[in-house]
């Protein structure tokens, strides 16, 4: 039965954990708070260690809390992160997204810094600053960095936050053998700027009910044995893991089962973990995809996608992994375009008639249960002090 205006506005007769108010996707005030309360205080993935392989290699990162960072490998091999900002008068230090720099030289007035964040040169320092300001006061802003869980470089702007392992709360334990038995390497990177809210991307990664969207997944996964036995496991701090399935890639005409795998992974196995507040490990047979979401505005999101294989891959093995990755992912893959199309469609309708979004499926935590999204928004509400179902109320 169609609903009239009052009925359309009515809150669903469901627990408040089972729906959200789409205001959380459109409000600039809420994004401002998310940056301060969540992104500035939680661990996020900046890049992979293979992107800064050698001493003095650097890689820039646009942090979701709204800070520009760079990651650099020191002469001691340690990976550190800093604001990509000159302490003098705020110029961007590193303009290239990646490179190798013995000295980090600000092009503007030639302040220079070393790979550990110390200021090493102030041109004509004493003449101008006398003993009022020196190199000791002009160090870079260091950002806490931990490398692990597949060699990902995690950063946290909060100096007082709990350690990464504690934050992850065991969410990646089931994947650890695949991630940490031997070094991984990034073979694909691309960024999709999508007119949608970052949480809508994470929602898509956190529910499998939308497998109906994907012809590929319907054939190779949904119609295959084991699909409806996949279960969600939730973890502290808003993370969720989806149970495994062995995918039948050959059910898509012209597709091949994956010849390659990861350590400890059964051939064609699919494992997936969603990490609060906007990262996903998606390990599918021969390649690992890592998503990291960066809000630009409430209705615009930059999503960084990385594809990874094993560092020791031969060129032939690597080509196979790349082929498998691109068949469903990458800017021309079968599935990724469809996922992005769906969140683009949600994004287009934001503030244009949407009312409550349902996260209400309960199926004993199996694959079409929406416990993954509920886990995320439970955590979100705790950090924000606002229920996602009624974000104007303060908890």
């Amino acid at each position: 039965m169609p609903r009239n205006a009052a009925q359309w506005d009515l809150k669903p007769q469901l627990p408040s954990t089972h729906f959200v108010d789409p205001l959380i996707y459109t409000s600039p005030l809420i994004l401002h708070e998310e940056r301060e309360k969540i992104f500035a205080r939680t661990w996020v993935i900046a890049c992979h260690e293979s992107e800064v392989r050698d001493p003095h290699d650097y890689r820039t990162y646009r942090h979701p809390a709204g800070k520009n960072l760079f990651v650099v490998r020191g002469d001691d091999g340690t990976i550190r992160a800093f604001y990509n900002v000159c302490p003098h008068r705020g110029n961007t230090l590193l303009y290239e997204p990646a490179g190798n720099a013995k000295h980090l030289l600000c092009i503007f007035h030639a302040f220079a810094f070393d790979c550990r964040g110390e200021c090493v040169t102030i041109p004509r320092g004493e003449e101008g600053y006398q003993d009022r300001i020196g190199k000791a006061e002009m160090g870079l802003r260091a950002v806490r960095t931990e490398v692990g869980f597949g060699g990902m470089v995690y950063v946290n702007l909060d100096d007082g936050a709990p350690a990464l392992r504690e934050f992850l709360g065991g969410a990646l334990d089931d994947m650890l053998e695949a991630l940490d038995t031997e070094p991984l390497e990034v073979f694909a990177f691309h960024r999709a700027i999508v007119p949608t809210n970052y949480k809508l991307w994470h929602d898509t990664n956190s529910e499998f009910y939308h497998d109906y969207l994907h012809y590929h997944n319907r054939e190779t996964s949904l119609k295959q044995p084991g699909y409806f036995e996949r279960r969600y496991t939730t973890f502290p701090n808003g993370h969720a893991r989806v149970g495994d399935q062995v995918v039948k890639y050959e059910a898509y005409e012209g597709f091949k089962d994956r010849d390659l795998s990861f350590p400890g992974l059964v051939r064609n196995q699919w494992k997936m973990v969603d990490l609060f507040p906007g990262q996903t490990y998606n390990l599918r047979g021969s390649s690992l995809r890592i998503d990291t979401s960066i809000p630009i505005s409430p209705v615009q999101t930059s999503i960084e996608f990385r594809g990874l294989g094993l560092r020791r891959d031969t060129p032939e093995e690597r080509a196979l992994r790349v082929r498998d990755y691109n068949s469903i992912w990458g800017p021309f893959g079968r599935n990724l375009h469809e996922d992005l199309l769906a969140v683009l469609g949600q994004g287009r309708a934001l503030g244009r008639g949407q009312r409550y979004f349902l996260h209400a499926r309960e199926e004993d935590n199996t694959i079409h249960d929406e416990i993954g999204m509920r886990q995320f928004y439970g955590e979100w509400s705790r950090w924000m002090g606002r229920p996602a179902s009624a974000p104007l109320e303060v908890l």
Partner: protein
Amino acid sequence: MLDVSSLETLNSDHREIARLVYDTVLLLDSKDFSGWLHRCTDDFAYAVRSWSPELRAQITWLEHDRAGIENLVRHLPRHHTEPVLLTRHATVYRIEPDAERSEATAITALTIYQTQDDGGETSLFAVGRYYDRIIRTDDGWRLREREVELDTRSLGIGTQYPL
């Protein structure tokens, strides 16, 4: 030294090769993939790549033989794709036939625009180049290899169509 008649052959080769490249653009624009593949050899190879300053490496985004491309376009109706029109603007910059004039390479500048079905707004989708290898067959010049080298790496939600 080229005599007059071989110069004429060379000129007509150039014309025919340029025409082949432009034909492929027109056929792709109109989504006539079988017409496009008709201009390609049986051992056609297609790839989309781009240099990534982030990884300081070349990334391959799509790589198919003829059967792979045929499979890709055959399955398009089963997938959800964004309702947009892709329009390619191409200029053949350089054609270099080999000494026997049985084979040639061509470099083509490429701009791809995207027009929304809803409202008709046009935006730039990507810029790059075609690097083609073209061979002479009994049926005339045919595309043996196409590498689409993209400068643009921020491709919105991407596309399911060959470029």
